[in-house]
Chain length 742, copies 2
Amino acid sequence: MASLKSLYEPSTDLGNALNTNFDVDFVIDYRFATTSKTAAEAQFVKLIEALNNVGLATEVRNGDNCAVLIFIKVASERHLKAEVYRSRVQDWLYGVRTVAPKKEIQQNLKDEPITEAERLRLVYLLITKPKNEGGAGITPKSGEWTCVESIFALHDHQFNKAWIKQLTSKYFLNSEDLAEIKDRFGEKIAFYFAFLQSYFLFLTFPAGFGFCSWVLLGKFSPIYAIINGLWCVIFVEYWKKQETDLAVQWGVRGVSKIQLKRPQFKHESTATDPITGEEMKVYSPFKRLARQLLQVPFALTAALVLGSLIAVCFGIEVFISEVYPGPFKAYLVFLPTVILTVMMPALLSVLTGFATRLTNLENYETTDSHEAAMVSKIFILNFITSYLPIFLTAFVYIPFGQIIVPHLDIFSLTVRPFAENEKQLTAPKAGFQINPNRLKGQVIYFTVTAQIVNFLLEIIVPYVSRRFFRKVKEVKTNRAMKKSGTASPTADDHPEEAAFLTRVRNEAELSVYDVTTDFREMIVQFGYLSLFSVVWPLTAVSFLVNNFIELRGDALKIAIETQRPVPWRADSIGPWLESLGFLSWMGSLTTAALVYLFRGDGLGPDGTPWNINTWGLLLTMFFSEHIYLGVQLGVRKALSKIDSPGLQKERAERWSVRKQYLQESMGQEAADNAASGGIAGGEKISRNTLEEAARLSTLKGHGTPEERFWQRQQGQAETIAVGKNYIAKAAPKDKSESKKEL
Amino acid sequence: MASLKSLYEPSTDLGNALNTNFDVDFVIDYRFATTSKTAAEAQFVKLIEALNNVGLATEVRNGDNCAVLIFIKVASERHLKAEVYRSRVQDWLYGVRTVAPKKEIQQNLKDEPITEAERLRLVYLLITKPKNEGGAGITPKSGEWTCVESIFALHDHQFNKAWIKQLTSKYFLNSEDLAEIKDRFGEKIAFYFAFLQSYFLFLTFPAGFGFCSWVLLGKFSPIYAIINGLWCVIFVEYWKKQETDLAVQWGVRGVSKIQLKRPQFKHESTATDPITGEEMKVYSPFKRLARQLLQVPFALTAALVLGSLIAVCFGIEVFISEVYPGPFKAYLVFLPTVILTVMMPALLSVLTGFATRLTNLENYETTDSHEAAMVSKIFILNFITSYLPIFLTAFVYIPFGQIIVPHLDIFSLTVRPFAENEKQLTAPKAGFQINPNRLKGQVIYFTVTAQIVNFLLEIIVPYVSRRFFRKVKEVKTNRAMKKSGTASPTADDHPEEAAFLTRVRNEAELSVYDVTTDFREMIVQFGYLSLFSVVWPLTAVSFLVNNFIELRGDALKIAIETQRPVPWRADSIGPWLESLGFLSWMGSLTTAALVYLFRGDGLGPDGTPWNINTWGLLLTMFFSEHIYLGVQLGVRKALSKIDSPGLQKERAERWSVRKQYLQESMGQEAADNAASGGIAGGEKISRNTLEEAARLSTLKGHGTPEERFWQRQQGQAETIAVGKNYIAKAAPKDKSESKKEL
């Protein structure tokens, strides 16, 4: 663990700084480098007042480079407890909790202690909620709070260290580990780890089967395709169930109903909520729908722009590597990569900008729906950049290569500067052979190389660069201080706090953790498995190894690479579930198509794939898809039959709440009767009650025809006697009797 | 209304018998024609005792032909009220009701009076529920109750008459009408009428559009196909929403969770319910799943058997009408119809028998799941018999007719007896022209002729035959009495009751109303619209007319053709919803295929359809289906945005229940605060609280490092002062200041 330790303690001179947070809940990084002194002071005063007004205590310390750090905690324990209780009552009002919180605050908090995630979330809400909802209304970098660079919680380094150590020393996370993550980093991040964990566990099957299939069946095996499709269905359906179950266990089922309002939301009119009587801000859903329709041209444009870039680069690459015979070929093959590397990020950032503006235009009321809308747009972009190259190879290059490649000499323009004579620029009209290994190579690139590169970019590069820049900064600051003679920002630090403040200044510079990015990575990865793994059955093995590291890497990233995330709640993995289902479905189409096109050894005798029978291909895809949908229905039904501990717990809670109410209101026995659905044996009709009835009717005279009807036979005995008489008259005679008569 | 009146009062000599039911809730028709006298008497005694034991009062009267009629009502009003209250409490325990029933029974019943449906349902349950659940355990015709022919409620003829009159005098049912049906005949039947009503209203659009399309666009119009598909999606999605809404309005949402146990259910073991603590009977779901898989061979067999019958008859018909030139042709064309009419019902009844046995084998615990399983099997049979003929014409006869028909001379066997010479039996090898109008003719047959025939068979024929057989019976009985001198069963009737008893004897002979059959009819009808209406756009017009009559006809059937149905509850149209969705989906495939195959004038110049481009056809279907699924998703999302009165009511109820609890437990103001989600402005940090804190820390010595950290700046003013100082040192200078310095 030596390496971990060294990773973990970036500078040894922090001493015991890692052991205490001085009870600080949140820190505001207040930066005024671009603001005038008076404005900065005025905003600072307003900020401190706003914070104090909602019951938060503040301390201020010097920050790095034109910044002060404002430390925040809840002023009194009683205030915090009241907040927690209110939040729990609200959960119950919205149906998130089944059991109403105990009426005594103290008792409630004793039964269910405040978790760190709960405390941090409520304090964060207190800081950021609009004033009319009882918060301080601080919105970083926007509105009147231009100087508020960020609001972040401080890492609990003692916990983090133990947590990372624990994660790296075991293979699987159990439910206690997940509960711990939930209590520290909130349900949203816990859901990510739970998903990653389930996915990792599930991957063991296709990894094992994929390996066998690789050894025994080869690529494009229909058996592998079927098993892989089935696995996708089961995994997606299982996760749906698991997700609900976790939400119930963590007490957050339906928490997405309690939505955070977006401060940016612009309402058209106000109305009174017919249910709660609160005032609601309204924006016409039809207007929003109309704006949402803009997603269609957006998706088309993105597909066109990114698609043509990829297609052009692909074309150039094919031309250079397989057609072009001229000089510098060894270097020119990198030309498309260079074009992609330069152009793609630029295009993507333009498109992401468009997506952001489009999502803002759609004007969502809540952060959740805003995020979901953004995610769906980003998913489209990711889909194109991640899968289009393989689609091009599989469904354009290989089947139509013989036709298209000879026309690629239009790309000779790109290499003209390097050509020695005109001859080198014309493609050979015949004799071109498509490269049958290109598809497999590409899949391996995306499922192995890209994953490793990704990991490096995500974890290692930021770490190294951060260390490097911190050193540079230190040197610079020292030199600047020597030169100008101004005091270092640390000059005022009390010795007792110095190490702690250095740590906080470092944490202030860290980036913000965004769980969406990590989710996206995993979903895109799942896509390779469901869409293309039939090309190279070892895909899942690579992912299994990658995800083992990924889980620990993400934990490490949260612990040391980013600021401590605000522990938001969530009751599912949100919009990613839909993407997951969509990719799994798409898989049934692409896998069928790949198997149909490349089955056998993949290529016919002349280097082209089988004579393509278009209707055969379409029919295969059609059946594959419908079998997929049928199986999905079946799996869903079968899984719904299995009871899950979470749902059972919820039902049991509901039941006991109601049972208790009954017992309070009508006594133990009656409640038991009503609850068990049994109807207690009705009162017997005794002679007494009948005589009573007769007496009543006599008192009233002879009664109504109805009364007379029901009094013709007084009591059970008479009914039986009369009935027997009727039966005796009409019934077929018993054999013995008939004999007697004879 | 003269005709209605005459329909309504089958015999005028019943006098005021239609005006009163003598407070009778249920009648048991006890028949002992095949039982020996002693056995009949013993069972009768046991029956009466069992009924009396659960608090039911009984009267016995003579029935027709070896039968007695046992009249049943709840012995005391108090007992009934207790039953109703228990049932309501149980509803609440299972979450069907949001608001707990008032604690005082009287108050509860006053707030929400007992409806007739509720009373009849509870009395019926009291009669039929197993003894251990507090019922009398009477199961007609099975177990120990072989003589119990039927248990039926008596019609409220006064209401029925008014109801029929009302229905026939208005075009649309409003929600009061539906609520009335619900209160009289139970939610299950009310759902049928609500569905029929919504369907009827929705049909006006395709009827109007279909008419325009018929005039302007002709058949196989892609525009009609698209609009029709869209309509199907919207209708199905709308009904899903409407269904939930009605269930909430009627207070039965989730009532399917309170399941009636099937007495035939065989359990493997018993277990204790972890939630309610009751004993549960358990049957392994995996065993059941294994048995459910038998549905696959069942469906295949049914498709094969019915399919070959239909295909053979179809072949014979084509052969005779279009190939065969021999004698008796005019009569022989009816041969296939005769074969179908004879064989189809026989085969269907065998297959239905299989389906019943299969469903029994699957051993469901509750009547609902049993019924749903049976419905799904019957739906398969119906699907084959209703749609296969049209499928054969559209996708086999017309495209492949030229190839297949010349081979049809194998059917010459069937007409050999009629042939005069061998020549007539050989099909002409060439020159055969497929009949392009066959498809349209068939669709018109199924959507118009078959609907009318169906209506006649359903309403008119039973009515006429019943009147006829009743007359026959009367004559017979009279003759028998004259001959044998035995007394007529009516001889004992009290004059005051005679007319009433005659009426009850008549009602005892009526058949049982089965809402499933009516549902099936409507769903199959919807199928024609979604699958084939592009062939003949007037389909919806025919259905519109038909359903107007159908709704009234069904009401009439319930009122006079069948026994009064037991008013069961339901929270949806159950398994039919799935069938509806399935047919709508199928429609996207068949419609696309039909339009692709027959667009233009349907047939190419040589009498065959267009040169079929198989991959074009498949691609069209593929796109059509996926666009359908996409649109469905969109419609579903859009509809989910629209609030419905029922769901709003439910949410408001939930909210008010919880709000009230809060008010009771924590006082008005605090409840308002907690409910509105606003966090009341936290306590201000006054100098007092801080001085208090300082005092405390002094008492404790200098406190912990944490305490010292938070005490460096005492109060807001100090924080602001220190902060301002930091800012002044580090901030960029104001312009004015910089100028001054210059």
